[in-house]
């Protein structure tokens, strides 16, 4: 009966978190959701004039959205031995007409590809041609509801991929680019021209199964991933050649909560399960709080054997919100060590990501790097905090699932005058044994995005590597690709490539050497 009521409430199209998305003055003038929609795009356009760092949230459209830079303007010294393709993905199409998504995570995905080598860097960007994007382009408006925006009047969705925006991560694996979302299929793209091949169905009965945006590829090229749907967790194992080796379905210890990222070790899949409930049915008068920590529920970490996920342990620790893991490894004495980024609440998911989309200033996120030690024998765990205000953790790709000393993150630590949002302004490497950090501040006028660690060819040390990552430079009004020496992060970029345009701020990416 309760379920039926929930269904009915949801089907009736109850409110999106409009309240947080609107300025106080506009909210005060509102009498109902019908007035909110036409104003959304205008609200952003008005607010962003005072918030130049948020300009990239304007996004692109699907008529003029493709980008091909040709040879980019280069600064500094691009090493000849760095050759490959760097991919990024993120929400890019944010509005159609006057209708604008309320939540950063809602936008349709756009894969960015930077091709580096032969003394040249070039950029290509393509919106992923999902079934959703194609249907909405044809309709000339949004049809499908998204995580943070209720769309009225569209057809119902057939299944998960009807909503799939393929907007969270991009990874070249076994000859194709995977553009990944969270609740449905990965989309395949051609690395040569970024044309969309379509949703990847690993086996006919696995159509539209959840395949998250945070798979881990181990040193041998095996790809491990999970997906969650209601009470189920799915575990994927894809071979280095891109063939499905195994898929398992198990029961989630915390059904239906937000599950975003996972780690691997030699033997285990390690999955944080933050106690965040997603209250889609909440009426508008209830305010933002659609994504809230559920009182009394712990942060769970699910540790499952790769080959048999029914063999598992669930660790419980003090409640925290977790989006991203850094890495995990096993110690010789039966413990699993997991690094992750945690927040005391779901503020960013619930309100921060909404404020960004309306061009609003917002407070800092108070996110921190932590290490959990999970004793597989006793079931006990401890948590240690290392560094504050960091996100987008990455490690040496050759050490995924093994012990890594250095963790790369974006970071915010300087109180730049006039900078009043939670966006990151620097990049940092943290010594996971001592907590000592080395970092570089791009400056008050720059937003730093995720940086990945790229090993130098022929070298084995963790910091015999470069950091490769993008920034938005509000002074130049351009997206910039930066290369730093991982051993000398504080010196800043050794090379840059300046794009002749602004790309939407994105989420995650990966480098493929050629």
């Amino acid at each position: 009966m309760q379920r039926r009521e929930l269904l009915t409430a949801s089907a009736a199209g109850l409110a999106a978190p409009l309240a947080a998305a609107l300025t106080a003055s506009l909210a005060a003038s509102l009498t109902g959701p019908a007035q909110a929609k036409p104003a959304d795009a205008a609200v952003f356009a008005a607010n962003v004039k005072q918030q130049p760092l948020l300009a990239p949230f304007a996004g692109v459209d699907d008529i003029t959205g493709n980008r091909d830079s040709g040879a980019l303007l280069l600064r500094g010294s691009w090493p000849a031995e760095l050759r490959g393709r760097f991919y990024r993905n993120g929400p890019a199409l944010m509005q159609r007409g006057a209708e604008r998504y309320h939540h950063w995570f809602d936008g349709d995905g756009m894969v960015q590809q930077y091709t580096i080598g032969d003394g040249r860097v070039s950029h290509r960007g393509r919106l992923v041609q999902t079934a959703k994007l194609k249907a909405e382009r044809q309709a000339g408006r949004f049809l499908m509801s998204a995580l943070g925006t209720q769309i009225e009047g569209g057809p119902p969705g057939s299944g998960p991929d009807s909503f799939n925006t393929a907007n969270t991560n991009a990874l070249e694996h076994a000859g194709r680019v995977l553009a990944m979302w969270e609740g449905g299929s990965a989309y395949g793209l051609d690395p040569q021209d970024l044309s969309t091949q379509g949703p990847i169905t690993w086996r006919p009965d696995l159509a539209q199964m959840p395949f998250t945006a945070h798979p881990k590829v181990d040193a041998q090229g095996h790809l491990w991933n999970i997906g969650t749907s209601g009470p189920h967790i799915v575990a994927w194992h894809i071979s280095p050649q891109g063939q499905l080796l195994n898929v398992q379905v198990g029961a989630l210890p915390y059904p239906g909560g937000m599950v975003h990222d996972m780690a691997v070790t030699e033997r285990y899949l390690v999955v944080p399960l933050p106690p965040v409930s997603l209250n889609f049915g909440q009426p508008m008068g209830a305010g933002p709080r659609r994504f809230a920590m559920q009182a009394g529920e712990p942060l769970r970490v699910l540790v499952m054997e790769k080959g048999d996920i029914t063999k598992r342990r669930v660790f419980e620790m003090p409640p925290q919100m977790v989006f991203h893991v850094g890495n995990a490894h096993e110690t010789g004495d039966g413990r699993v060590v997991l690094s992750f980024i945690a927040a005391p609440d779901a503020w960013f998911l619930d309100q921060g990501a909404v404020a960004l989309m309306s061009g609003q200033p917002q407070a800092s996120g108070h996110i921190g790097l932590q290490i959990a030690t999970l004793d597989m024998t006793s079931g006990r765990s401890t948590v240690q905090t290392l560094a504050g205000d960091v996100e987008f953790p990455r490690i040496d790709p050759r050490r995924v699932g093994a012990k890594a000393r250095w963790l790369v993150t974006g970071a915010a630590w300087v109180k730049h005058p006039g900078r009043n949002n939670a966006l990151l302004h620097g990049v940092q490497v943290t010594n996971m044994e001592t907590g000592r950090a080395e970092r570089y501040d791009y400056g008050a006028h720059v937003v730093a995005e995720e940086h990945v660690l790229v090993p130098k060819p022929g070298k084995t040390g963790e910091r015999d590597a470069w950091l490769l990552g993008t920034t938005y430079d509000a002074r130049r009004q351009a997206t910039v690709l930066n290369l730093l020496d991982a051993a000398h992060v504080a010196d800043g970029p050794i090379a840059q490539a300046v794009l002749p345009y602004v790309l939407p701020l994105g989420f995650h990416g990966n480098f493929t050497a050629v």
Partner: protein, 166 residues
Amino acid sequence: MNLPRPNALLFTTLVTTAILALLAAQVARAQAAPEATAATPAASASAAASTGRCVEVDVHNVRPQQGQLFLAAYGSAETYSKKPVAAARVPAGDAITRVQLCGISGNELAVTLYQDVDGDGKMGKNLLGLPTEPWGSTGKPGMFGPSWETGKVTLDGSPVIAQLSQ
């Protein structure tokens, strides 16, 4: 019973529960219906009913010429998803395919349907039971599956519109 919380991105448990429970009953009945000849514009698909009148249903958002449509029509909240007054299967035609359902009485009707795109005679679902083929309803089914309340329409002699999912 412990309610599963809606999943982050897609509420898929809800979708599954609502749609599959509903369509499961319908499949068996529609499969029993004689296959209609693909006459255009109206594919006649009477459900072996000798009494009552015929109603034309315009199915929108059909994947053109792919597989077949299974329809079931219900006349009341009590019989909804249990005992259809008419059922049909017809080859999928154009993006808007007109289907005739006969044996209808009363003033209200709710039609549920799905498109069997791959022609295997059943509604596609994956290992988790999530739908992988288009489903639909008359009325305004919303994102989460049809019900009598959201699906019923008043019959006034003009064709009834049923929309398949995206």
